[in-house]
Symmetry: D3
Subunit: 290 residues, 6 copies
Amino acid sequence: MPLLKLGIPKGSLQDATIDLFAQAGWRIAPHSRHYYPDIDDPDIQCSLLRAQEMARYVERGTLDLGLTGLDWILETEAEVEEICTLTYSKSSNRPSRWVLVVPEDSPVRSVSDLQDRKIATELVNFTRRYLTERGVDAEVEFSWGATEAKAVEGLVDAIVEITETGSTIRAHGLRIVEELLVTETRLVANHGAMRDPARRARIEQIAMMLQSALAARSKVALKCNVPAKRLDDVVELLPSLHAPTVSHLYDPQWLAVETIVDAAMVRDLIPQLRAAGAEGILEYELRKML
Amino acid sequence: MPLLKLGIPKGSLQDATIDLFAQAGWRIAPHSRHYYPDIDDPDIQCSLLRAQEMARYVERGTLDLGLTGLDWILETEAEVEEICTLTYSKSSNRPSRWVLVVPEDSPVRSVSDLQDRKIATELVNFTRRYLTERGVDAEVEFSWGATEAKAVEGLVDAIVEITETGSTIRAHGLRIVEELLVTETRLVANHGAMRDPARRARIEQIAMMLQSALAARSKVALKCNVPAKRLDDVVELLPSLHAPTVSHLYDPQWLAVETIVDAAMVRDLIPQLRAAGAEGILEYELRKML
Amino acid sequence: MPLLKLGIPKGSLQDATIDLFAQAGWRIAPHSRHYYPDIDDPDIQCSLLRAQEMARYVERGTLDLGLTGLDWILETEAEVEEICTLTYSKSSNRPSRWVLVVPEDSPVRSVSDLQDRKIATELVNFTRRYLTERGVDAEVEFSWGATEAKAVEGLVDAIVEITETGSTIRAHGLRIVEELLVTETRLVANHGAMRDPARRARIEQIAMMLQSALAARSKVALKCNVPAKRLDDVVELLPSLHAPTVSHLYDPQWLAVETIVDAAMVRDLIPQLRAAGAEGILEYELRKML
Amino acid sequence: MPLLKLGIPKGSLQDATIDLFAQAGWRIAPHSRHYYPDIDDPDIQCSLLRAQEMARYVERGTLDLGLTGLDWILETEAEVEEICTLTYSKSSNRPSRWVLVVPEDSPVRSVSDLQDRKIATELVNFTRRYLTERGVDAEVEFSWGATEAKAVEGLVDAIVEITETGSTIRAHGLRIVEELLVTETRLVANHGAMRDPARRARIEQIAMMLQSALAARSKVALKCNVPAKRLDDVVELLPSLHAPTVSHLYDPQWLAVETIVDAAMVRDLIPQLRAAGAEGILEYELRKML
Amino acid sequence: MPLLKLGIPKGSLQDATIDLFAQAGWRIAPHSRHYYPDIDDPDIQCSLLRAQEMARYVERGTLDLGLTGLDWILETEAEVEEICTLTYSKSSNRPSRWVLVVPEDSPVRSVSDLQDRKIATELVNFTRRYLTERGVDAEVEFSWGATEAKAVEGLVDAIVEITETGSTIRAHGLRIVEELLVTETRLVANHGAMRDPARRARIEQIAMMLQSALAARSKVALKCNVPAKRLDDVVELLPSLHAPTVSHLYDPQWLAVETIVDAAMVRDLIPQLRAAGAEGILEYELRKML
Amino acid sequence: MPLLKLGIPKGSLQDATIDLFAQAGWRIAPHSRHYYPDIDDPDIQCSLLRAQEMARYVERGTLDLGLTGLDWILETEAEVEEICTLTYSKSSNRPSRWVLVVPEDSPVRSVSDLQDRKIATELVNFTRRYLTERGVDAEVEFSWGATEAKAVEGLVDAIVEITETGSTIRAHGLRIVEELLVTETRLVANHGAMRDPARRARIEQIAMMLQSALAARSKVALKCNVPAKRLDDVVELLPSLHAPTVSHLYDPQWLAVETIVDAAMVRDLIPQLRAAGAEGILEYELRKML
């Protein structure tokens, strides 16, 4: 069987990605010296490379499959097949977004004020297209990092930078003018690989396992014991995705009820369950769910 | 609905507290620049501040609810309502306690020997009251840290310091004279907030979830398969908090038994269960239990 | 009851060993100052010491029980009773092995080419016996560390070194000639302790709990809901260690199936289960299994 | 001879202080376990303690001599003799100052606006006196740290905090209302110790050596060769503190000139010296100067 | 007077550059939050930015003066005036050079073998021009880092990477095909700034001070006492840059000789000086020399 | 010319040794991957290896020259030529010494009490010889580290361990019984290399430069200006190693005096010099002195 060539994003997402694959069922062990990371699946060969470059190598077929951000797919305009979105490893509760930023006291109030201005960003191609589509002609140049400092120090008129909460931007005395792009991690595949039935099956299996691992992170299993006569009151409170599992206790007056709910709603659900007569309420973590 | 203002202890307890809230159902994301930490509940506003100051701000109503130590509640004599005790994040198996410490070769053998002596401590008010109640008149002064060194170097006659095992104290050539206070973390609320039904309900919900998360840390779910005819032998071994959940296996000769036990007793219980005929014994972690 | 004296390996295995004991049911809290680590079992006294020395102290009876590597048992030729093998804390998916290593351009092609050569290793006694058994007379000397550098810099002709993947060895421009020993962690006991029924019972309890904790790491619980009429198709897919637990759902058309499988096979099993009609598939972690 | 008891500030100033003493001629070696630091002078005994507490122990005579900040001398109102000011270990080119700080959008514009407000600070006594002297009645409370966050989060109305450049304050969205105190490090002695001729001589020796080491840090020795006939042009450029040292070169047409100048003026002086005919210009560091 | 806008390279060269300016006579204090670094010269304003971008901002006049590598000047083809070369902060004794690298077993033996191959590098423009000048048509693409891994993992056919000793390259199983560019740090100025006499004078002053600080790092002052009658023997051994400084000792039989020599030759010179009768040989460091 | 093979001690002495060689005139740049460190002298080849093994490789001629401790020379009984003692890199003001240590409450009061006891040490051979010479028969075994813990935990009766101040030993509740060996760093050479004139000359050059660098660390140059008529008073105060250098100032009433003194005596000398009329006192560091 042909090897499936898989790209893992190097850097800030690396550890979170390896953890996600471990939960999904593949153990990846990176070496300290940049050789191929070891994976416990003889049909897969891993490479570690920067998210910025992933889509390019998947498009070209050097890799069959990779994880990268929507931002870098759009930046490189790589022709790849987007298999699914995978949301993990966020440091806050808010999405990552690329925003147009200027000094607090800048006259720039909207994208249209950027005509003939200088803009620094790591996302040069995307920013140029964004401005062109809005009829703005500006000089967009590549920033090798410390982009915020360039706006603070007046080296450029504006920057396009990634942020979650915007607090670092405000702390620098900068102001967000507008949001250009909300980004998130995507699993992308090479078109040729998807036409090959063997590799397509492996890609779909990997996508299914990664998604079931992620789904399990936002859900929990909830169990409780309910007096038989109050079963309906309890079941009514539970989300109706599926019928809960009901089983019999040693003490015949009681029934055991088990169901899957959003982790985030448990804090509100438990007091209601207790009011409805449930006892012995237990919450369990899940490793996979689909 | 009015916001509930919640204080999270900054410093050594911070990460453990954020972990506990995550298990209880609230995701708190601290910012690097001291703004309010982000919390995924629009009805709550978090502040990070030192345990020493928490009770004062809760008493005054600047905060509705906070976590702090019994030691700092007593030190500040703040008038707050103690909702519950929460024991988490201990580095050893022993409680934290404030002890009176002197050099190994000091003539001080009991609190009464401290008359007219100099004592350094971070817990000045509590120590003064403790001595006054025992009829001892001594000079108690605030120590900004490195308190043990002051006893070692002879800058003061005695210190009052916090310890778990006492091993650091002994390693400095110091001796514990007596224990003044055993401390632990408390959830405390403002009296006014508790008289407001809406905030009281939120406070009680938070207390219930934190307690159910902590309870889950010291319990495990135990499952096993038992030959139907030996069910009574097995059930007899199990703690009688609640009837265990019994269900039927595909193979009708066997029953499945599930119960909750103290994690610490499993190491002794499992050999007994095996002796009683149990097979396929499994232990699961819990995330909440109440 | 006599105390059981238990040796925990200090250094690279220490944290992993303490984690394993925690999962098995014993909380061990090391002190920063080399006193006996604290353990929450009044019948056990822990010592922390290097894996290299463990077997010697167990043989002599200074310890009743300890964890160490097969390599160091063979090196010291200590007379101890090997209770069980415990595989944990590997950084890669491959076993640890002691290999004979020479510079890439060395004429040495097999152990027999080592006649009259100089060899540096931390495993001196084992290496000498290995060579003697093969009729090779060479000078084997103790290396205090940085053993690979000695081969690179020509201080010796060959080294015997431990490795998992061999990548560090190759990165130094060195070559593996042959494998001398595959090693792994062993639980070893003093012969006298094993003849004492009380201590033997404790040793067997500890071994059982450690093994059940390790077994739980490579297995998961899998649950799913199955249409009653497709039960046989699903059960057929499941490994036949034990009959799965089947129970009834609130909706009588569906059955709940629960079983234990190798974590590593889930990634292949789930797609098959879905094809066979299973829904609501859930994977849970285990803490113990036996 | 009586020991001189010397207090070294623990914490952020510790390493810089030990370096300064090394340059001044005393080697201090701190132990890891809070015993007296070792010093290579049999007549001195060192203690390490917090700058905040230093003046109190010097006043009381537990120490004869110590280094601390003017801020903490004023805060504790300790009766000590100020021997000299020692400016070292600044991270910027600006002095440390305690400032009154409020949120950017606060109505507070001057100290007089603080009437009946709440203020948090580590410098409680000084702040209270400062306000009382200006006829302002406010509630000043001790802050255990993270003081800026208290202003940001609205726990108090204002804070009094130490800063050099103010950039952290502005980055938090806070505003400096006014400067209360410029502080710097002082060498302070006990009055009794200064009345004892033996200890007074040691204290003056230490002060002289510390000052000569600090003076050497801001000065450099400059040497150059000058054509004999242009000597006056060169000497005229040099600061007139002292006559420069002039000596003869092997080549009789040239003279060697050596002088001490401010390190900060060398960058402007050297081009002028070259224009005046100087060659072979050399700059040397100094270790002591007086 | 107009401010001189100076760019300091951010990142690996930053600390070494700040140290060099300190020795040259300017104290630069970077802030933690990317504002302009503080400099103790009211006529200069500093910015911190990446070496890769420096030449571009100097060309455009956003900066008057900056430090960057020859490699990045050539990469950006920026029109700037090269004031001088500054060699500092090398981790080995060898120059930094950009080399063409392939896997050990690649058929590529020279640049001409790269026709139609894929090459990854951070230095895209320079590499493209280098190939075009040699008539080679290849695909050169930007690498965001971990460039060596791309050659090891076969993502590209060759890379162009920077190295000093080549040992990391060899340790990855890669081979250097040829050297494309030896690089070093350059001080570059804007053409317009150089036409403005005031700024030109400041730029030349800065260049002179930086060069005199660097020169001082490779030279030392050597002093010795020589019997008057052996003066010629000693002077003959000394390098003839300048006549040494000779002065008279209190003891008239002896002369003092002082000279400046390469630090690297002292180890060979001292034994010769002793053989020639020199005594009391002393070596001093220099801070500036010109 | 034959290469001189030089061994540099790896580990705790490594950085201090490289610094010493830099001051002595050789730049050594260690690689991260254990190849030979780079040295800027084509006639020398460096190896990095543990101090424990150095003497063995020098004896055998694998190295010509190396730095190691007297303790390890005695432990290995290597036949090497001791060129000189080099004292550097001590963390306290006291010598390193190997001491016999027992628990505080042990009955062992002298070496003779060790008959038939168990002793753990890293210095096995030396300790065995030491005991045998004193007629004591004890079991001495190799300790792989954490030796103090073995005495604390009762695994052995006594240990032989290295210490400077003894404070760690006392902090463990242990007691020093007696001192076995004071150790320090030695430069050792191979006998054969010393018989080869070319290598002997290089070895002596290296020894001379290392010693002159070390000597320079404990001495300083002191300069001052003296009224011509008080010259004798000042000269009388100066140590009489050599006549001080006296030269004439531009102002003929003053003389310049320059001399070399122990750094440690400057703190006492300067007040005396001022009393004798000296002004403009300057202290300079030295880089080499001989």
